[in-house]
Symmetry: C2
Subunit: 260 residues, 2 copies
């Protein structure tokens, strides 16, 4: 049972399903689930959450402990402070980390733990580098992923586009979303890999609000300490890029700490 549930995170299995599948009594299912709950607690691989009511049942959520969250943040900082990452202009090469899916799953579990009770309808991101992280979170929360494009594509059908300002030079950029990708009046969790001034996140929130979609949570893997004043507030980040010294070839990164 646990094996099946962990393969389908955040999907509710009602007790009757297991009774029928394994031809066992409801009391046996309850006992086995209690055992599985304890086993998960011991192995720190997530938790089983029981939902009562007529639509109730049990679901597996790959949450993470406070202690593991801090260990992962520390590992993230360590990987980022490798001086060969420096690209100049305060930029770092981070694709190898953001495309290491085993590590990205751990980053995702921190956001899943934080955002699991927000009752969101979507996980949204803007292409490209945050897509693996957003995909992982969408899978773990059992939510559809929405990928906002830079340019409207024919294969997206009718789209809505906005212009926004982003980057150190405040360039005008474009974002585009497929009309059929979202339902008006719903809620989204916004995920991205990096935030400097907050222009992109502000843009994502704006394009979602064109569809009356409320951004109920925002999770960003890395934020830059500068500029101190961001265009958006209320976001959760994992680590802060304090300083990149192009000349001395040093990088300083700090963990967020206790996120939950």
């Amino acid at each position: 049972m646990l094996q099946e549930m962990t393969g389908k995170p955040s999907q509710i299995f009602n007790f009757k399903y297991f009774c029928d599948k394994y031809d066992i009594a409801k009391s046996t299912v309850s006992e086995d689930i209690a055992m599985a709950k304890d086993a998960l607690k011991t192995s720190a691989q997530g938790e089983l959450i029981t939902i009562s009511g007529s639509l109730g049942g049990v679901k597996y959520v790959p949450t993470i402990s406070e202690e593991m969250s801090q260990i992962i943040q520390e590992e993230f900082c360590e990987r980022l402070t490798d001086s060969t990452r420096i690209l100049g202009g305060g930029f770092l090469y981070t694709s190898d980390i953001m495309y290491d899916l085993s590590f990205v799953r751990n980053l995702g579990r921190i956001f899943v733990t934080k955002f699991k009770d927000f009752e969101a309808d979507y996980v949204a991101t803007v292409e490209t580098k945050g897509i693996p992280l957003a995909s992982t979170i969408a899978y773990m929360l059992n939510l559809p992923l929405v990928i906002i494009r830079r340019e409207p594509k024919f294969s997206e059908g009718s789209t809505v586009s906005i212009n926004y300002f982003s980057g150190p030079d405040q360039r005008v950029q474009k974002m585009s979303i497929a009309k059929r990708a979202v339902k008006p009046g719903s809620k989204a969790i916004v995920i991205d890999d990096f935030m400097r001034g907050g222009g992109s996140i502000k843009g994502i929130r704006e394009i979602l609000s064109e569809f009356e979609i409320e951004t109920v949570a925002t999770g960003i893997a890395i934020i830059s300490a500068k500029p101190e004043k961001k265009k958006v507030d209320s976001f959760v980040h994992l680590v802060t890029l304090e300083e990149v010294d192009d000349f001395e070839k040093t990088i300083s990164v700090s963990p967020n700490g206790n996120i939950f």
Copy 2:
């Protein structure tokens, strides 16, 4: 043990690790692994593979049965034949399916089963719509993901770009790959969501071969029946889009069948 291994697919755990962690004898670990193998076989959630030798141990691979593969292909066909997907010009809206991570995981398991013994070093894709599928496969095979960009980005460091022809109108398009994303002389599995003439796949193989990277396998979720002659051969697809009738509003899709 199983819980830990399923959370880290394709990662080799040596027996000593489990002996130390749970303070049990090697014979007990062997017995437990034999039991877990049987349990997985019954639940059809993948398999445990034992690797002998000094670097040996056991790894979990989320393979899928021939029967389940065909059921998933049928479900894929059914979802695709919804006439509201028709965008005109033979195009279909498929983002909702390619961004449904729970379903995408099932598609990924088919490719994982097919490609698990290819000893690849990377899973490569070109942005954007195939990224969730490629991410899932990279995670399940424990390989780094390589995302080829349409335009070189500053945050990618030095890049290599190529021009190639693609699309119904054979437009010149560009692809760009970060030099530090790949090591010359390695092997890649190429993944994409859709193939019509094969121009993009040919482009991906070409840009990889600029780094002496051999494409050892190519997996595509949907191929178009037309044009019959593709620019590449030796690929594995899941379903074929036989015809889209814009006027009659009908779509015809067929499953590949026995892929393994």
